[in-house]
Structures are given as C-alpha cells and as structure tokens.
C-alpha cells in the first residue's frame, strides 16, 4: 500500500473556482508554500460566468496528489476538485511552434508534416514558419521532436485542459 502510494505518474486535476481576482494567486501560492511542483496549469472560462476552470497537471505519487487535492479543496475560493482518470477524459493542449526555414524545400516539408499532424500553419515569414498543433501532450511532444530537425526558434504551449467524457 505504501509502496503503491509512492509510484509516480502524471495526474490531471480539474478544479472549479470562483471567477474573481486573486484566486489563481491563492492556488499557486499554496503550491509553492507546500512544495508541490506542478507541471502545468491552465485557467479559463466555464459555462458559468462566475466560475473558472483550473486544470493542473502534476507528476507525483498518489499520497502527494491526495494532499494536493485536499489542500486545494480547503481554499475557500475553490468549489470543486476532481482527479481525472485518463481513460475517461478528453485531454487537449495547444502549442505554437515557430521553426527556422532554411529554404523552400524545408518550408514544404514542414507544411507536409503539419498536415500529417492535422496541424495548421498560422504564420509564414521570410525566415520562419509558425505551426499551431492541438492534441494530447504526447502528440505535441511528437511534433516538436520531429520539428526540431528543422531548428526550433520558439515554442509556446498552453498547458493542458481537460473534461470528463460524456
């Protein structure tokens, strides 16, 4: 039981919070104070104006995640906390990847790869090209690995957002 509690994996925690100034600070401050090292956090609107959704990913053991969930739930501005199970969750992340373009051949290669990944070219400039990739974090990692052969100028990832299926 203890051993099982110490196996590390990635957890996705979905949180409904009050949509008001300072709430993100309270949550992120708690992570820092209590030594939780989170991988990503994304905050955005929900179907209700007065609520926001905060999606947090953390790599840790189950005991750490249990404590994180309890500490989040303890915040007065936090209304609901759930740990999403990977099998029944739709997970998406968006990344903007800006690549160096050496010549016309590289440019058409990148466009081809982008199509294979069902990604979109969103900006073309003389020395660079920017691709928008959406999908699971694994898919984005795969695209970035491939794209790195062209030389990556900049990357911006949103961190993941997620919803339970059904």
């Amino acid at each position: 039981m203890m051993l099982e509690g110490r196996v590390k994996r990635t957890y996705i925690i979905s949180t409904i919070v009050e949509n008001r100034p300072g709430v993100l600070h309270k949550a992120s401050n708690m992570f820092r104070c209590r030594g939780f090292n989170i991988d990503s956090i994304s905050v955005g609107a929900t179907e209700r104006k007065d609520l926001s959704r905060m999606t947090i990913t953390i790599r840790g053991d189950s005991a750490t995640v249990e404590q994180l969930v309890k500490q989040l739930a303890k915040l007065i501005d936090v209304i609901k906390v759930s740990v999403l199970s990977p099998g029944s969750t739709v997970v998406r992340e968006l990344a903007l990847v800006k690549l160096y373009v050496a010549d016309g051949r590289a440019r058409s290669d990148i466009i081809n790869y982008a199509n294979v990944f069902r990604s979109r070219v969103v900006d073309v400039a003389p020395g660079s090209i920017t691709v928008e990739v959406t999908g699971s974090p694994d898919k984005i990692d795969a695209f970035i690995t491939l794209a790195s052969t062209f030389g990556i100028k900049e990357i911006a990832r949103t961190g993941i957002t997620a919803l339970v299926r059904g």
Binding site: M2, G22, A63, Q67, A73, K74, L75, I76, V78
Partner: protein, 560 residues
C-alpha cells in the same frame, strides 16, 4: 436598505456579530473607521504595537471561544500584525483582523504606507478579503466571521481601502451567508466510525491522544465520558493542555519534545491510538518514522487535509469532533462493559511509579518546577494561564497542572516569543472574573513588554511571573547540550530591571528571592487591581527535562 459609509457599515456589521471589543492601533489609512468607532458601543483597546494587538485578539478568542478582533492601519501597521496572524493560523484561533489600505486609485503605485497585505497574508490566513466597494462590506464581515469561527477555525483578514471606508452606499446586512466552496459542517462517515469502534473494543492497550481540536470544539466532557468508558489513558498536546483534567488518574500529561516521561513512554506501547483533533506536529511526535510504528491509529479531524498529511492513518474519520464523539460514545456504551481495571492500567500506574524517582526537581533554591507547583497551589482552578515561548513554556507545560479547557493558552505552532503577555491581556478582557497569569521568560517578556502601557491605562490587571535566567534559555540549553557549551548570542545580561520597568509603566513590580516571598507576592497580586510583574531570578544553567533531541524519536528521551 440603509445608506451609510463603508466605515459605518463595518462597525455596524461588527456590532451585529456581537463584537464587544476591538484590539487595535490606528493610522492614516484607517482613520475613517476609528472616527465611526468613537460613537460606537464597541470598546476599543489601544495597543502599543500591532503584533501585540493581534496576540490580544487571539488571547481573547482562546479564553472565550468567541472571535477575537484586531485592527491596524496599512503598511507597517499591517506588516506588524503578520506575526500575530501567523500565530493564530498555526494554532487555529478564530481571529478577524482588519487593516486599512491606501485608496483603490493608489493601489499598486507604491503609495505611502502601501503594502500588499493580501499577498503577504495569503499563506497565513484561512481566507482574506479586500472589498473594492463599500456595499460589499456587510457581506464581507459576515463571511469573515463565519469562516473564522466554523470548521477548523483560523484567522481571516479584511483589507479595506480608504476610499471604500469613505464611500457611501445602500447597505444590506445579510443574516446568513452561503459560501459555495466552504462547507464546514462535516458529519463523520458511519462506516469509518464503525471501524474505529471495532479497533477500540478489541484494543488491549488503547491511548487517547487529544489535540487542540478538543478545546476548539468544546468537547472536553464528551472526551471524558469516552475515556472513562474505554479506561484509556489520555495524552494531550501543548495545544490541548487542560482539555482533560491533569489531576485525573487517567491523565498522562503532555506528549512531545518536552512531554511528560510517562506520556512519551506509554504512547509508544499503545496498540490503538485514538487521535482526536491533532495534527501530528513534529514537536509532538518526534521522529515520525519512529512514532508508534506498530499501533493502529484512528484519526478524527474536521480538516480533511490533516489526515495523512504527516502520519499514515489506519482509520481516518473526517468530521466534527462533537458529532463523532457522540457516535463513538453511543456505540461504545453498547459494546463495552463497564470495567474498573485492566492490565494496561496496571502498566500505566507502574510506569508512573517508575518515573517518580527519575523526574525530580532539578536545581536548587528557586527551581522552576517548584515555583510552578507553588503557583498552582495559590491559584483557583479556573485561572487562565498564558505562557511565553521557550523554557518558561515547557516548564509550564510539564509542571503546571491545568484542570479546565481554555485555561492554558500558549503559542504552539509558531512558537512566538512575546505572545504570552498580550495574550494574557486579551484573555483577561474575555474573563475579567478570573486571575490571568503569564508565565514568562525574560527574553520573551521583553519582546512585548510595552503592552504594560495597555494593561495599566486600560485597567486590565494581569500577573506576569518572569522566570528570569538572563538568557535566551532554550537556545542556551541547546547550545549547552548539543553545541559543546558554546553560548552564542544568548546572554541577555541583567537588563532591564523588570521591577523598575513595571513601575515606569505604572504597574507594580517585585523581585523575589524565596518561595515564601513568592507566595506572599502572588497572594497580594491576586487581590490587586493593577498589573503585577514578579521577577524571579533563576539559575541560567537550568535545563528543561525530559527532552527529546530534535530529529530523534520519543524513545530517545533524555531525563536529565
């Protein structure tokens, strides 16, 4: 609906919360509130430093079971409150702190006396608020008191920009508030209670570890009923000292780094521990891996995040202690037969006898254990004791027996030197009918001794007993025991002369040289209408024993 200013709404809302007293210190950014306060029925007690007003509010809260209220201005007023707020947070005390703030148009511009007190206090408050419109004030106050006083209590801060204090609005004062993300009334899960009952009825060597939660939930009597049914000895923590009468045959005293010898020994032998309202702090458990590794632990707490935070638990019960004790008692009463004695209790008695010879009054003459035992004899049982932090506190914990809840008030989690004296003033305001005594050290008392002015001017007479070793005694003890007697920055010298200091403030001061003198002076002080400072010179070499060295397990207790 009634039109009034934010300040008027604030005072009105406090009045509706039945606030009778505010401990505070004004400044530029809170003058509008003080202006309204002048015409209010609420008493204001003027502190001499904001740290002290926060401790006074906490002393008031802990002695009365009500919410303590303190107030300060923006900037340095607010930052000075911080230690007091952190203390209340660590010890789960219901305190509402209010601070003035620069006007909303100036926030973020580094205005005069501007500080981000919301940011600063986020990790040390249960919640904090900064109303941006005067109309939010009534609801904010209602929520602040609700949050501070329910569930696991804690401090709440309301930071009010000056323009919001002045702004007028149509005010609505709600009688109740619903906070979506806050549901403090938690009933224990019956299945978990059943598991606890199964363990407790089979236990051969049960121990009850009662924590500060017992005092906060006012469940001392329910605890006692369960204890007598189970015939389980009771160990308290520093925070719960007094929740179970220490002259009861089943009381083992306080557990921990300076716990009683029998508490530290017997908990390690227990097979089932019923831990109620505790948080397994490091000063209580010693090295966690070695803390009762073989015992089954039942942990009841209203704060789910406490369960499993420090110690793995066999039977977690999230719930209100009062409801949980009721359920436990009802089931236990059905399942257990009334007993008179058990082999475990024989063992308890035997262990006590064993330690009787080991734990003696160390030191000659005016030794702290002797003084504190004498002090206990001189005081009525319902006297309220506060302590400073350090050796004085641990001697008080070990040698001053407490019989009633809310009569022992000490800075447990934060260990704030300077806490005891202002807390005593706050406690005396809450309990003017009983003597209030601060058991102090010279180092700690010096930190907030200017509260003598408050105590004298506001006519709040308390007694301060300074166990004066002219040292930062606890640090000196560690340096003596673990740093080869290399005393670094612990010698305070004989400054100040505490008798003259007391007299300078209009209090009375005595220096005593014998137990007889001590008796006489305490008796006089109990009859006096003015604050009394009793300076008791003790040996600077005196150690507090028993002691579990930092990072060691309870079994590594040093007895002297």
């Amino acid at each position: 609906m009634v039109e009034m200013s934010g300040s008027q709404a604030l005072i009105e809302a406090l009045y509706k919360e039945k606030v009778e007293v505010i401990f505070g210190l004004p400044g530029g950014a809170i003058i509008p509130v003080y202006d309204v306060l002048l015409d209010s029925k609420i008493r204001h007690i003027l502190g001499r430093h904001e740290q002290s007003v926060a401790h006074m509010a906490e002393g008031f809260a802990r002695a009365s079971g009500r919410v303590g209220v303190c107030m300060a201005t923006s900037g340095p007023g607010a930052t000075n409150l911080v230690t007091g707020i952190a203390n209340a947070y660590m010890d789960s005390s219901s305190v509402v702190a209010m601070t003035g703030q620069v006007p909303t148009s100036m926030i973020g511009r580094d205005a005069f006396q501007e500080v981000d007190i919301i940011g600063i206090t986020t990790p040390i408050t249960k919640h904090n608020f900064q109303p941006k419109y005067a109309s939010e004030i009534p609801k904010t106050v209602k929520m602040a008191f609700h949050i501070a006083s329910t569930g696991r209590p804690g401090p709440v801060l309301i930071d009010i920009p000056k323009d919001v204090q002045n702004q007028t609005a149509d005010m609505v004062f709600p009688n109740k508030v619903e906070i979506q993300g806050y549901n403090p009334n938690i009933s224990p899960h019956p299945l978990q209670v059943k598991k606890a009952i199964d363990l407790l009825t089979k236990a051969e060597k049960p121990i009850i570890m009662a924590g500060g939660g017992v005092i906060l939930s006012n469940t001392s009597q329910k605890l006692q009923a369960i204890v007598e049914l189970l015939l389980a000895p009771v160990i308290t923590t520093l925070m719960s000292k007094g929740c179970f009468p220490e002259n009861h045959p089943l009381s083992l005293g306080v557990l921990g780094m300076h716990g009683s010898a029998e508490a530290n020994k017997l908990i390690s032998e227990a097979d089932v521990i019923l831990a109620a309202g505790v948080r397994f702090s490091d000063r209580t458990t010693g090295k966690l891996d070695e803390f009762c590794p073989d015992a089954k632990i039942i942990h009841i707490d209203i704060d789910p995040s406490e369960i499993g935070k420090n110690k793995a638990i066999d039977v977690p019960i999230v719930g209100d202690l009062s409801k949980t004790f009721d359920m436990l008692y009802d089931s236990l009463a059905k399942r257990l037969e009334k007993r008179e004695d058990s082999p475990w209790l024989k063992k308890v008695r035997q262990t006590r006898e064993e330690f009787k010879g080991i734990i003696i009054d160390q030191g000659k003459g005016l030794s702290p254990p002797k003084l504190l035992k004498k002090l206990r004899e001189l005081l009525p049982n319902n006297s309220v004791i506060t302590t400073e932090v350090g050796q004085n506190q641990m001697w008080a914990s070990l040698y001053f027996k407490v019989f009633e809840p809310r009569t022992f008030i000490s800075s447990g989690g934060l260990g704030t030197m300077g806490f005891g004296f202002p807390a005593a003033i706050g406690a005396k305001v809450a309990r003017p009918d009983v003597p209030v005594i601060d058991i102090a050290g010279d180092g700690s008392f010096g930190m907030t001794a200017n509260s003598l002015a408050t105590s004298v001017v506001e006519k709040i007479p308390v007694i301060v007993v300074i166990l004066n070793n002219s040292m930062l005694g606890m640090v000196a003890q560690w340096q003596r025991l673990f740093y080869n007697r290399r005393y670094s920055a612990v010698e305070l010298g004989v400054a100040p002369d505490f008798v003259k200091l007391a007299e300078a403030f209009g209090a009375q001061g005595f220096r005593i040289g014998s137990i007889d003198e001590f008796t006489k002076v305490v008796k006089g002080a109990l009859k006096s209408e003015v604050t009394t400072v009793i300076d008791v010179p003790i040996s600077p070499e005196e150690n507090v024993f028993p002691m579990v060295p930092a990072g060691k397990g309870l079994k590594d207790t040093i007895y002297g």
